[in-house]
Structure formats: C-alpha cells, structure tokens
C-alpha cells in the first residue's frame, strides 16, 4: 500500500484504527508517519458512512483503499459496497466508475463466534461489476493488492486474520512445492522491497501451488494451506495431488483448472464459505460444463460446515475445510483410479 501511495497521490487509506492505532492488526503500521492524516484516515465505526464516502471519492477521481477491520463488519454497509460500488459504471452508462479497493480480514479468526467469522466470497462474488481477490501467500498478497489499487474497477480484497502472522504460529511453509518464479526462487514471499515497486500479479491468473498428476485440488486463500497439508499426507499414500490457487474469484481462471483436470481426471474444490450456492459449487459446475468427458468421477466440494461459526475451539476447527477433510475427499474421489 505504501509503495502505491508513494506512486499515486490519489490513493488514500481509510478505515477504523488505521492511523494512530497503527491498524487493528498492524497492517498499516507506520503509514500515518509517512503519509500524514490527510491520506491515512481514522474513520469512526460507521461502515456505511465511510465505505459510501469511498465510492463517492472514487467517482470524483480518487483511489480509495477502504479497510474493514473484518469483512464481517461490512454487512452493515452492504448497500454501499454491493449496490453502489459495482453498479455505478453500468447505471451511469459508462460515465462514472468506482476504482476503489475494499479490503480486510475474511474467514474464521480465532474463536470469534459467528458474527465475526464471515467468509463473504460466495455471497459477494455473484455480483457483476466487482472484482475479487483472495491471496494465500505474502507474495500473492503484494502482487494482487498492487494490481487492485491500480485497477479501474472496484475490488474486494479478502485477507485472512489467521495468515497475517504467517509463520509465527508455526505454520508450515510449503513454498518448496512452488517452481522457480523468474527471479530464482520458489518462494511465498514477494521479491525484495527495493526492486519490486512494479511487482504486479494480474487478475484472472491462477497459480499452480503444487504440481501433481493424480487429482486436481482447487483452493482459495487460507484453505490453500490446508490443501497443501493434505497433499503432503497424500504423497505418503502415493497420491500426487495438484493444488491450484485461482487467486481471484472474479475473474476466475477456469482455463488453468480445466487444463489440470484434463490431466488428472479428478477434481476436489475447497472453499471456506458455506457450501450452498458457493464459490466451490460454481467452480465444480464450471468443471462439469467444460470437462465432463475428462472426469473419471464426480467433483467433490470441501466447504466450511453448513452451520454458523461456533465459538468452541474444537467445533470451530472442525467446521473449517481442513486438511483431513480434503484428504478424505481426495481419497473418495480417486478410489477408482
């Protein structure tokens, strides 16, 4: 964000506690020192007010980054973010766009209960006019966020509270699965800050997080890590899983998924939102539509359980689309291989 703010005077960051508190999750640490309170703006707890302000400012020509402390809190601003932002260009016959980024934490945090544990991707990705990115690694977060800020359309940028302290909680680093990325290394992390001001990851470009031959597993955001953990276990059983991270839901890089399915003939889709009318359901349907003849079994979805997020740690963890569920799904779908 800071790099983009240095590059473009029109970019500002607004949200609860982004300035003097340094960000509720320290995402904007030090930014008010550099850019001052004109551009790093502490907003009161008024999501409708400040997200609507972002839409208006974007119509006028600014490049707002509107931070929701959590996407769970965006629901009170639904009229602004899904009624105004994505439809403005269309309703005005192309006269007024909304080049704003709405970003914040998405998905179950740590025992926050149901009101604070929303995964909004399935609910919002059905709205035409918006774009949506769900990064799963620091590298993707950087490249996609920079692309989002430079985009001419409204972008919903779904981060994960559980991944902000990535590595600090003993998370496994699966970057060994990644192939070399141009400048020499398989890596989760973005290139060094001094030479990466234009490190952009285009929307609609999936990344094969782990290549494999036996079953395609599609996952977005934090569940990519669950999928890789599952892949590690399945490797021991002799099942070589290919993990594909589409990185953006709108646009969705279905081509990369289809290419993979044509190779593996099996497909499991992982998605941390509820199963009914979900992103996983959409991906599964598109796989059927585009690759039915190549499938040797049905597509299986692994979603969050179809219940409000429970508080109890045991229940909360079990509800997630975690590695064991993915392992079981892959086994079930490939039993006839």
């Amino acid at each position: 964000m800071a790099e983009e703010m240095r590059r473009d005077e029109r970019v500002f960051l607004m949200g609860e506690e982004v300035a003097e508190y340094n960000g509720a999750y320290k995402v904007s640490q030090g930014m008010v020192e550099e850019f001052g309170p004109r551009r790093i703006v502490d907003a009161p707890i008024s999501e409708t007010g400040f997200s609507g302000l972002g839409v208006g400012a974007a119509m006028y020509g600014l490049r707002p980054i509107i931070e929701f402390m959590s996407w769970s809190f965006c629901l009170v601003a639904a009229d602004q973010i899904i009624n105004n932002a994505p439809k403005m260009l269309y309703m005005s016959g192309g006269q007024f766009g909304c080049p704003a980024v709405f970003r914040g934490n998405n998905g179950a945090g740590g025992q926050l209960g149901s009101t604070h544990s929303w995964s909004v991707e399935s609910m919002f990705s059905s709205v035409p006019g918006l774009k949506m990115a769900i990064p799963s690694t620091p590298r993707d977060a950087k490249g996609l966020l920079k692309s989002s800020i430079r985009a001419e359309d409204p972008v919903f940028f779904l981060e994960s509270e559980r991944m902000l302290g990535f590595g600090a909680r003993g998370d496994k680093d699966f970057s060994r699965y990644l192939h070399a990325n141009g400048n020499g290394g398989p890596t989760w992390a973005p290139p060094a800050p001094e030479d990466d001001d234009n490190f952009l990851i285009p929307f609609g470009q999936a990344e094969v997080k782990k290549s494999g031959t036996d079953c395609t597993v599609v996952a977005f955001g934090r569940p990519v890590h669950f999928a890789l953990e599952a892949a590690e276990q399945l490797e021991k059983e002799g099942i070589d899983v290919e993990v594909i991270d589409p990185r953006t839901v709108r646009p969705l890089d279905i081509d990369t998924i289809i290419e993979s399915v044509k190779k593996t003939h099996y497909c499991v889709v992982v998605d941390q939102s509820w199963p009914f009318a979900s992103v996983a359901a959409e991906v599964g349907m598109q796989v059927y539509e585009n690759a039915l003849d190549h499938l040797d079994n049905k597509v299986i979805r692994v979603n969050n359980d179809d219940v409000p997020a429970p508080y109890s740690r045991a229940l909360e963890q079990e509800a997630l689309p975690h590695a064991r569920k993915i392992v079981e799904a892959v086994r079930a779908v490939t039993y006839n291989a």
Binding site: F12, V32, G36, P37, R38, A43, P44, S46, T48, G49, F50, S51, G52, L53, G54, V55, G56, A57, A58, M59, Y60, G61, L62, V76, D79, Q80, N83, N84, M88, L89, Y90, M91, S92, G93, G94, Q95, F96, G97, P99, P128, G129, K131, A151, E152, D153, F203, G204, P251
Partner: protein
C-alpha cells in the same frame, strides 16, 4: 452565528441578480414543469417503464440551489432526479430518451428515471436507495477537500431519508472532518404517503438534527426560488474552503452546535410536491384541498412570474414566449426519445467493467458502435 433566513440580507442578494439570471431561472423552472407534464403523459402511454417520480411543485428547489453554485460543483441526489438534471443543464432530449430506454439517453438507457447521470455537467447521479446517496455526496466533499479545491458538494435527500442510518453517518463524517458539503433536505412533508411527523421524531424542529452534529443549519422557502437562491448563495460561500482540523496530527476537534464557517451545512428546504410520490400513487393520505391550496397560492413558478412582472423585469408576453419554448422543448424531447433507437442488445455487456474480462469483453466489440453516437 445562526443562519436562518435574515430577510433583509436575503433581499439584497437576489435583488442583485441581473435580468438574464432571473430569466434563466424562470426558463429552467418552466422547462422542468413542461418536461414533467410530458413525462407523466408518456408514462401513461406506457412509453416509460418502472418507477417514475415527478418533480412538479419542487422546481424552485433544484433551480434556486443549483443556480447559486459554480458549474463545476458536484451534485448528487435521490431518485426524484429529473429536476436536478435539467437544472444542471442536461438537455431534455437525453433525459426523456433515458426514460424511454433509448441508447441516446443520458445513461444509454441503463439507468432509467431514477438513475440520471451527467458527467459533463458534474451531476453524479440520481440514486434510488433512500439515503444511500448521502455518504456518496460526503465522498465528493472529501475528494474536494483532499485535492484542496474550492468547490462544494451538494447532496440532496428527501425527508424520508432523514431516518436512514446512512444520513446520520454522513452527517457525522461531514462534521468530524469539516467537509465542504451542503446536505440539502428537500422537505416535501411526505415520505411516500407518510407525513413527516408520523415517521420522523422532532420533525417540527429539524434544526436540532444539524445542531446535534455541530453542523450549521439554514432553512428557506422551497416555493420561492429567490429565497432558495439567496440561502444557497450565502451558505455555499460559508461552505467553500472548509478545512479539516484533523489534518493536523494529534488535533482534538471541538464542536459548536452552531457549526463552523467555513464548514458543512444542513439546509432544510420546505417544499411541496403536487403529484403523487410516484406515478402509481392515488394520494389517499392527503386532502385535495391541501394540494390545491399550494397550486393556487404557493406555486413557485407563479410566484416568480409575479415578481418579475411587479418589478418590471419582464412582460407577460415575454414570459409566455419562454413558456411556449419550454413546451416545445418538452414536446421535442418526446419526439427525440420516440425516434431514437432502443438501446441495442449489444450494449448489454458494455460498462459492466472498466477493464473487462471473459464474457464482459463482448462489450469491447461495441466501442466502435459507441463512437458513432
């Protein structure tokens, strides 16, 4: 400090208006009136679909307020937006064609009656979710302040929107950042069919709504275009150049119930709509006498005509001529809309994304088509 209409001061302001400005205000009000009469007729002929809300009776509000602003001051309003668009200078042809769903409409037939947009005239739209446009208007004011421009943003709402959270959040943001916003209540006393006192607590003392946010309050007679003009000219001057006290790090803002100058203002414009809420409103909630009383004694166009004649600014013949031209413009607008082509199916996929992908690239093929317009 209070800015409720001071009659003497007001007289001086509008008295200084030259003949051309007065006649142009009359002309715009007549164009709106005649346009809306044709709109009603076209709606009844099923040329116009959807919801349609007429501005008849309220002409002085849009014309008086917008005439007092700079041409590049952004304005935004709710769904009763025909008057604002025309007052801002949109040609009636494009307004009527929009309602007819024609490609020549101000939003290529994609917005309709409730969603007029006009970027060249800095008209940021009619917005149809009650109150939802007020935060957008605050965003326009924020952007003006951010870019350190000397503009003001005009954000209009109806009295029904007073009870939406969006309005209150927007008022609060305007106050804490001292934004150059004019938040304009077009108070026609009815939220659809609900009298303001039935739905809005403290409706008889709306000044308190402004004071509770430390925002300057003003009010004017929305049936008198000169009073509206005076009020907006004075308040725009007191809003322009509003600075954000919080741009200084560590500053703890202080508030005064009378608001700040320069700073945001909340203007209560008392007006009246002659027609129903929308075209489908039988108006059982108010008496015919009430409506007739306004038409006979308070009509904003008649009041201005009387003023012009009494002060020797114009003759009845000159006024009749302007009215005849307005009628012709409205008639021509219907003809233009009738004869324009429907928005072609090919336009379906344009304007969904500024940077289209996948199926939305279908729209790209029609750039050439758009170029011909």
């Amino acid at each position: 400090m209070t800015t409720a209409t001071g009659q003497n001061e007001a007289q001086e302001l509008s008295d200084s208006l030259d003949k051309a400005k007065l006649m142009s205000m009359l002309q715009r009000m007549l164009v709106i009136r005649r346009f809306e009469e044709r709109t009603a007729q076209s709606y009844q002929q099923a040329k116009i679909g959807g919801f349609c809300h007429l501005y008849i009776g309220q002409e002085a509000v849009a014309v008086g307020s917008i005439s007092a602003l700079r041409d590049d001051d952004p304005i935004i309003t709710a769904y009763r937006d025909h008057g604002h668009a025309l007052a801002r200078g949109m040609h009636p042809n494009y307004a009527m064609a929009e309602m007819f769903g024609k490609v020549t409409g101000c939003a290529k037939g994609k917005g309709g009656s409730m969603h007029f947009f006009d970027k060249p005239n800095h008209m940021y739209g009619g917005h149809a979710i009650v109150g939802g446009q007020v935060p957008l208007g605050i965003g326009l004011a924020f952007a003006i302040q951010y870019e350190q421009k000397q503009n003001v943003a005009l954000a209009c709402l109806g009295d029904g929107a007073l009870n939406q959270g969006a309005f209150h959040e927007a008022m609060n943001l305007a106050a804490i950042w001292n934004l150059p916003a004019m938040i304009v209540l077009e108070n026609n006393s009815y939220s659809m069919g609900t009298h303001i006192n039935r739905g809005t607590a403290m409706a008889d003392d709306l000044k308190q709504k402004a004071q509770s946010y430390g925002i300057r309050y003003a009010e004017c007679d929305g049936m008198d275009v000169l009073d509206v003009y005076d009020c907006f000219a004075r308040e725009a001057a007191a809003t322009r150049g509003a600075e954000n006290p919080q741009w200084e790090r560590g500053a703890i803002p202080e508030y005064d119930k009378h608001g700040r100058t320069p700073g945001p203002v909340f203007i209560n414009v008392k007006t009246y709509r002659y027609q129903g809420h929308s075209m489908s409103d039988p108006q059982k909630y108010r008496s015919k006498n009430e409506v007739q009383g306004y038409k006979d004694h308070r009509d904003p166009i008649q009041s201005l005509v009387q003023h012009l004649i009494e002060h020797g600014v114009a003759t009845q013949e000159q006024i009749d001529e302007i009215d005849a031209e307005a009628k012709q413009l409205a008639k021509d607008a219907v003809k233009f809309a009738n004869e324009s082509p429907d928005t072609p199916i090919e336009e379906m996929y344009t304007d969904v994304y500024a940077e289209p992908f996948g199926p939305f690239k279908l729209g790209e093929a029609h750039e050439a088509f758009r170029g011909e317009e």
